[in-house]
């Protein structure tokens, strides 16, 4: 349990720094730190699929945010700190590479599902009890609408919100173009 509190403290400190700092790029990097903390938290809570989704979305969002801010807030590190920063970044990249190799070693072989190796995996329960408990012949339907209904509710909410946003933005633009047809 201690690791959760350490991660939580790390994320809270990163969030406070992200709000309080004056430099825009540092703030974005702190947001990325919060994201990776969330991802590691999901990994410790034994939800690796959510952790992968979290880190992919976080990396994409970070790239977009950095691309959006890099032109208006440039920070150059010069002098003695240049060597220091290079060494630190090379070491961090090397550590992440080693960690990646470790993670790939723990993955099951290609073509062997996890349920053959882990006896009490959740998918075993779904396959054994899914039909008897929900009455749905399609196990996928019983999982996404019964066992993991919250997940589907979240997905539907994401779709709903994104379509509301797209509709509002596009209708406003179309209205503006209809009012000024010359442009």
């Amino acid at each position: 349990m201690a690791v959760f509190y350490i991660l939580l403290l790390f994320m809270i400190i990163a969030a406070i720094i992200a709000v309080e700092t004056k430099d825009l790029l540092s703030s974005i990097i702190c947001v990325g730190a919060i994201g990776i903390g969330t991802s590691i938290m999901f990994l410790f809570l034994r939800a690796p699929d959510i952790a992968i989704t979290q880190i992919v979305v976080e990396v994409l969002g970070l790239i977009i945010l950095i691309r959006a801010t890099i032109s208006r807030d440039l920070t150059f590190i010069t002098g003695d700190r240049e060597f220091f920063g290079t060494v630190i970044s090379v070491v961090i990249i090397f550590v992440i590479f080693l960690a990646g190799i470790k993670v790939f070693e723990t993955l099951p072989d290609f073509g062997t599902p996890l349920i053959t190796e882990v006896a009490n995996a959740a998918s075993n329960t779904y396959i054994k009890e899914g039909f008897a408990k929900t009455g749905a012949a399609n196990i996928v339907a019983s999982v996404i609408l019964d066992y993991r209904g919250y997940d589907t509710l979240g997905e539907a909410t994401v779709l709903f919100t994104s379509i509301i946003g797209a509709t509002i933005i596009l209708r406003k633009k179309a209205k503006k173009m209809l009012e000024e047809p010359d442009k």
Binding site: F131, K133, T134, G135, A136, A137, N138, V140, A141, S142, I144, L145, D146, G149, Y150, T152, L153, A156, T157, L159, F160, I163, A166, T167, L170, R171, K173, A174, K175, M177, L178, P181, K183
Partner: protein
């Protein structure tokens, strides 16, 4: 003359019914065969998108107008949430399948709330995908009928 040639219009007018029926089949048999609300909703939306491509935006908008599509979208979303809340009311837990056990398995009406959720999601996904393509097609500089939106 809006839309494409008469060949495309004739074929589209025949095929759109079949696509729509196939979408309904995918949605309401989602608990028995592969498919479900998301896939069926996309097929339902694609039948209207075919109509829009063949006949032009105005014709599709006469069949399913933009306010009606947004209302269907909201109805689907709230229906899905309502099923979850009904599970809380009758079963004690949010999202519990409170209707299971009242019917034989492997029938069309079985599996409790799963078909109802599929219908709600199909309505929601179909309406919202049609809505997003409709708004994308409204966002064109060469719209001559400068009425609403």
């Amino acid at each position: 003359m809006k839309g494409m040639t008469v060949i495309v219009k004739t074929v589209a007018s025949w095929v759109k019914v079949l696509i729509f029926l196939f979408g309904i089949y995918i949605v309401i048999f989602g608990h028995l065969t592969p498919g479900g609300g998301f896939a069926g909703g996309v097929i339902l939306a694609s039948s209207y998108v075919l109509l829009m491509l063949a006949y032009g935006r105005e014709f599709a908008e006469e069949n399913l107008s933009l306010p009606l599509a947004s209302k269907l979208d909201c109805v689907g979303a709230f229906l899905f949430a309502l099923i979850a809340i009904l599970g809380f009311v009758f079963g004690g837990v949010f999202f519990v399948n409170f209707l299971v056990g009242y019917s034989q398995p492997l029938r069309l009406i079985s599996a409790g709330t799963i078909p109802l959720s599929n219908i709600a999601i199909g309505l929601k996904v179909g309406a919202s995908l049609f809505l997003i393509i409709l708004t994308l097609s409204i966002f064109r500089p060469d719209v001559s009928t400068g009425k609403k939106e």
